[in-house]
Amino acid sequence: MSIKIDVDMTKCQHYGQCCFEAPTVFELDADGKLNVLTHEVDEDMREAVEAAADVCPMQAITLTDI
């Protein structure tokens, strides 16, 4: 199974909390805007992307099993 990652950019406030939990998926660019590097990850990344979704203050990250 893999996991689909959606970030609601109307909610995201670019706090970057997600980047600390899953740096290979979320990154802040030089202007401080969130970049989602990949929208799909394998099962072995579950813990990291779940942690990222948990720490998002805006609760902007949705994970779906696909």
């Binding site: 406030q13 802040l28 660019d29 401080g32 203050p57 609760q59």
Partner: protein
């Protein structure tokens, strides 16, 4: 079946339940909360939701599938607990037994019982509080805010955006004095004053005036302010009264060890979130209670693992607990973001920018970095967070 009772249906309670499941606990989990809502996000209550309206369906946290079988007993307050008998008592007098307990009961705003009418005076912690306050924040309404901490300042910014007149009365010399210090505090003061907020520094309120409803506030220099609405936002009190009489340390929240296990409890018992006091290995030597949004998640995860281990007869992980405290605040176009414990610093150095604009400040104690705060400088904080993590 083994039963874990979680007292408090907030973020910490939710994360503890999820962590119990993630750590293999298959028994019964009952979460008891006095609010009528499923766990929801509080920070918007002073910001976006206060401005644009409360929609509980968007404020509620998404819950992991693993907690679908948890029993949520909402609208029900725990009034007593007997850790030896392993029972809690609810407000309606019913008694519930448990094998293990989680305290996730958070804090409440401090009430100084200032004399005067009660009607028109507000505190802000729960959705119901935000709802009641929001109804009063109509254009032209005069709001007097007691306290210039984050919540007072965020409500001030929101109230200005809603067209209210805002006066802040505070004993401090600048807004958000304890977390930010003088320089950044003064920078934020400039933003607030630019937006028309009036500060009354070094002052407190001795009395509210009005008959059946508040019409004003009397300050300790005998000056007075007219008010249609009042928000009292000075300090907080941990919700531990339900644990009285158990011979555990409740002097400031619930004292735990680094696995979040409550010190001195005869029953398996952990505490999480705003109500827990523990030693953070990043800032060793003192057990602290920290009211930051990210910590209910960090403590909930660790505490769930501890309890799951205890319930299978194991020894909880004693590796040091070192979550990074982090805080953010939105006021006007300013994003204030903090890592570490800037409040314990003895020296503050602006390392980039201007306190009234974009800036980064280092907070040091005995010469060592203990915190960093940025205003509109998210990316610049990343290396500091890394340095703080490294200790």
């Amino acid at each position: 079946m083994t039963t874990v009772v979680i007292v408090g249906a907030g973020l910490g309670g939710l994360r503890a339940a999820e962590s119990l499941r993630a750590n293999g606990f298959v028994g019964e989990i009952t979460v008891i909360g006095d609010e009528p809502h499923m766990p929801y996000n509080r920070p918007p209550l002073s910001k976006e939701a206060l401005k644009s309206g409360l929609d509980m369906s968007t404020l509620e946290f998404r819950r992991k599938a693993s907690v679908a079988d948890v029993t949520w007993q909402l609208g029900s307050a725990v009034v007593a607990c007997d850790l030896s008998a392993r029972t809690i008592t609810l407000a309606d007098g019913s008694i519930v037994g448990f094998d293990a307990l989680v305290a996730a009961s958070g804090i409440r705003p401090r009430d100084f019982n200032i004399p005067g009418p009660r009607n028109g005076r507000h505190f802000l912690r729960a959705a119901a509080d935000a709802h009641a306050l929001r109804e009063q924040l109509v254009p032209g309404a005069r709001i007097v805010i007691l306290g210039s901490g984050f919540i007072g300042c965020e409500v001030a910014a929101t109230a200005r955006q809603l067209g209210c007149e805002v006066d802040i009365v505070t004993l401090d010399p600048v807004p958000m004095y304890r977390p930010l210090g003088t320089i950044l505090g003064a920078g934020m003061q400039a933003h607030h004053e630019e937006h028309g907020v009036r500060f009354h520094f070094g002052r407190s309120i001795t009395e509210f005036t009005g008959h059946d409803r508040v019409t004003g506030a009397v300050l300790d220099d005998d000056s007075s302010l007219e008010a249609d609405v009042v928000l009292e936002a000075v300090g907080s009190v941990p919700n531990t009264q339900w644990l009285a009489g158990n011979n555990i340390d409740l002097s400031d929240g619930i004292l735990t060890d680094s696995s979040l296990r409550v010190v001195g409890s005869p029953a398996p018992f952990v505490a999480v979130g705003d109500v827990a006091r523990y030693e953070n290995a990043l800032f060793p030597g003192v057990a602290r209670r920290i009211e930051h949004w990210n910590l209910p998640t960090d403590t909930g995860k660790r505490a769930g693992a501890t309890l799951a281990t205890l319930l299978t007869g194991g020894q909880p992980d004693q590796t040091p607990f070192a979550p990074m405290p982090s805080f953010w605040s939105d006021q006007y176009h300013c994003k204030v973001q903090s890592f570490g414990l800037p409040g314990i610093a003895d020296e503050i150095v602006i390392v980039g920018g201007e306190p009234s604009g974009e800036c980064v400040a280092e907070y040091r104690r005995d010469g060592a970095l203990v915190g960093v705060i940025g205003i509109n400088s998210t990316s610049a904080l990343v290396p500091y967070r890394t340095a703080l993590m490294a200790g």
